[in-house]
Symmetry: C2
Subunit: 372 residues, 2 copies
C-alpha cells in the first residue's frame, strides 16, 4: 500500500530545521512493509497546506502529516484541514500540548520530534496497522554493512548479484568510508542468501550491525576487552560516536583528546623529539600515542589519530587531509597508516572516525591488519 | 520568485538518509530572497521521477533536483529527464564523477552532499542569479542566538516586538537548550533595531554568532584565554562540537574523556572517597574534575560534566537525565549546577553540550554565574 509523508513548516522549507520527522516516519513505515511513495514539505499557509494535502490524498491511500498543530500564530494545519472532514479520532499527546488527529486517509501529528515519535508509535500506528492491512505479501528486509570499502569497489559485484536474484531490490548507501547495503524482497531466504554472498566476497569487511560503531561495541563486549583512544584531529568525535550507544561504558575506558602538543607530551609521553622532527602528524607520533595509552591505562586495544583536518595547517609534504591512524593491541605490532582523507574539515573528521573504527573492527574480529 | 527542491532516492524516502540536501538548498536560496515553495522526495523509479519533476516544473519557475545522477545501479534521474529537454548546460563536478545539468527551469545536482554543495555554490548559483532575477525588493535577514533560554521564556517578548514592527517576519528556532532567532524584512535598519531590543532584554544570553560554539571560540580568541574540558556523560561531544570549527586549536587545549572511574582518578585525581560516597555524578566529582584540569594543564578556563545519559544507570535519587556541570575560571569560584536533562540519551547529550557551552560563554563574556 502506498502512503505519503507531508511536513508542514517554513522552518523546514528554509532549512533551519532538517526534516528528521520524515526520515523517522519513512524508516518506521517502510520497515513494516508499507511503501513510502513521496515526502512533501509545505509552507505555513492555509491555502498551500490544503492544496498539498488534497493532492497527496488523491494519490495515496494514507497521508501522514506533521507540524502546524500547536497553539501559536503560525500553526495552521488544523485550520486548513477542518473543512475537509466531518470528524476525526483525537490522538493523545503524552508529552506536549497539541493532540493529533486521525481522519479517514489523513493523520495529523505534532511537529516537535519527540512528541511526534511517541504519538506515532503509541497512538497512530496501532490504528494504521488495523485499518491499512498490507495487501501485498510482506516485504522483508535485510541490511548489512561493509567497512573501509568504496561504492565503486562493491557495485560490480552487486550488479552480478542482481542478475542472480532479479526480484530482490538492492540498495547501497555510502557514508564516509563505509557502506550500508539493504536487500528487500518477498522471500526472507533470498535476502539471507544475498547477504551471505556479500559476506563470502568481503569476509573481513562485512558486518551485521546497522553501523560500524555498534559492530565494534558488540565485538568488544563479546570478547570482554577494553578500549582506549587518543584523538587529535578528530577532536573527540571517535569517543562521541562510540559513547552515543547505550552500554558503551561496558568496554570503553575513555579518550584523551590531546588537541595541543603540550597535552600529547604531558598525558601520553609523546617525545619532544618526535614532535619536533617528525611532527604531530606522523607515524611515529601516533605510535607513541598508542604506547602512551597502554602505559597509562589498562586497555587491551588502543587507537590513536592525528591529522590535518584543515582548512589551514597543510604543507607541501603533508597537505590538508593527511591523517595518521594507529590501531594497537597490547603485546602485538601496532597497525599504522598514513592516509589521505577528503579535504573539507567536516568530511575529513567523519572519514577518519569511520576508517579508524573499520580498521579497529577488522583487527578485533578478524585479527586483520588494514594498513601494514 | 517561487522555486521547488526535489530530492531523488529511496534511501531518503525510507529514512536511511536524512534530507540535509534540501535543508542546505532551502537555507541558501531563502537567504538570498528566493521563496522556496515546496520540497519533494521521489523514489528511484523512472516514471515517478518524470511525473514528480513535471508537476514541480508546472507549479514553479525553477526546480532544483538532487540525486540519481551517478553511474550505479539505482541512479535513474538522467534517464527520466533526458526525454524532456533538447539540451542543457553541463555543470562541473570538482570532487566527484557525475556532472550536473542546467536545463531551462530544471537543475540537476548530484546526491552526495559535498559534491552537491560545491556544485550548487560554484556552478549553479551564478547561473540562477543571472537568469532568475529577484523581482521583489531584496529581503534582508538578521539572525542572533539566545543561550540557555526556552521558547516559552522568549515568545511573549517576541509577540510584543512583532506588534512594534508588523512588517518584519520573526522566526524562532529552538534546539536543545538554545534558540536561534531570525528577523527578515525589506529594511535592514528595522532588523538591527529588533536584534538590539532582544540584546537589551536578554543581555547576558544574547550572542551574534550562528551557534554557541562559535560564540565561545570568538570570545576565547579575543581574550587570549585557553580552555580545557573533562567529559564523562557527553563522551567527547563537547570537544567534538568545539573542534568542528576551524582554528579551534588557537584556544582549545583538549578534553579528557574520562568515561570510566579509573580514568577520573588516574588522569584528574578525582578522589576515591568522592567516587565512593558522592558518586561520579555529583557536585563534588565535577568540582574535583575542574581542579584536576587546572592542576594538570595550563588552562585559564575549565569545564567538567558528569551525568546519567541513560537509558540505564538511573536511581531514585539520581534518575536518568541527572547532569552535573562545572564551569571553572582559574583563581575564581567554580560555578556548579546539578540539572535535569531530557531523558533520551541523544537529547541528554546534546542538551548537556549546549548548556555547558552557554554557561561557559556567559562566564567568559559577562563574568556571569549561571548555576550558583
Amino acid at each position: 500500500m502506498d502512503l505519503e509523508i507531508v511536513s508542514i513548516g517554513n522552518e523546514v522549507l528554509e532549512g533551519h530545521t532538517v526534516n528528521t520527522n520524515a526520515a523517522f516516519l519513512g524508516r518506521e513505515l517502510s520497515r513494516l512493509g508499507y511503501r513510502v511513495a513521496r515526502h512533501t514539505v509545505l509552507p505555513d499557509r492555509v491555502d498551500a497546506i490544503e492544496k498539498g494535502l488534497k493532492e497527496a490524498m488523491s494519490r495515496s491511500s494514507l497521508v501522514i502529516a506533521t507540524g502546524g498543530l500547536g497553539p501559536t500564530i503560525d500553526d495552521l494545519t488544523t485550520r486548513a484541514v477542518r473543512p475537509l472532514f466531518e470528524e476525526g479520532i483525537e490522538l493523545k499527546n503524552e508529552i506536549g500540548t497539541a493532540p493529533g488527529l486521525f481522519y479517514p486517509g489523513l493523520i495529523l501529528l505534532p511537529g516537535p520530534p519527540r512528541e511526534m515519535e511517541r504519538m506515532f508509535l503509541e497512538e497512530a500506528l496501532p490504528l494504521i496497522l488495523e485499518q491499512f492491512a498490507l495487501a501485498e505479501p510482506v516485504r522483508h528486509r535485510k541490511s548489512c554493512g561493509l567497512c573501509l570499502l568504496k561504492e565503486v569497489e562493491v557495485d560490480p559485484f552487486l550488479r552480478d548479484l542482481q542478475k542472480e536474484e532479479p526480484h530482490v531490490e538492492i540498495g547501497i548507501y555510502p557514508s564516509q568510508g563505509s557502506l550500508l547495503l539493504e536487500f528487500s524482497g518477498s522471500k526472507k531466504s533470498d535476502l539471507n542468501k544475498l547477504a551471505q554472498r556479500v559476506k563470502e566476497r568481503f569476509p573481513t569487511f562485512y558486518f551485521e550491525e546497522s553501523h560500524i560503531a555498534l559492530a565494534v561495541q558488540k565485538e568488544f563486549i563479546a570478547r570482554k576487552k577494553k578500549l582506549a583512544a587518543a584523538e587529535s584531529c578528530t577532536g573527540g568525535a571517535i569517543a562521541a560516536k562510540l559513547t552515543a550507544i547505550p552500554d558503551s561504558s561496558l568496554y570503553f575506558l575513555g579518550s584523551l583528546v590531546v588537541y595541543s602538543n603540550q597535552w600529547k607530551e604531558h598525558f601520553l609521553q609523546v617525545s619532544r623529539s618526535t614532535l619536533d622532527h617528525s611532527g604531530a602528524v606522523s607515524r611515529k607520533a601516533v605510535d607513541e600515542m598508542v604506547k602512551g595509552l597502554f602505559h597509562e591505562t589498562e586497555a587491551d586495544f588502543a587507537v590513536a589519530v592525528s591529522g590535518i583536518a584543515g582548512p589551514s595547517g597543510g604543507t607541501r609534504d603533508k597537505p590538508v587531509g593527511t591523517i595518521c591512524i594507529a590501531i594497537g593491541e597490547r603485546g602485538h605490532k601496532t597497525d599504522i597508516g598514513i592516509l589521505q582523507a577528503p579535504k573539507d574539515r567536516a568530511s575529513a573528521i567523519d572519514w577518519t572516525v569511520q576508517t579508524t573504527l573499520g580498521a579497529l573492527w577488522r583487527r578485533l574480529a578478524h585479527q586483520a591488519y588494514t594498513f601494514s
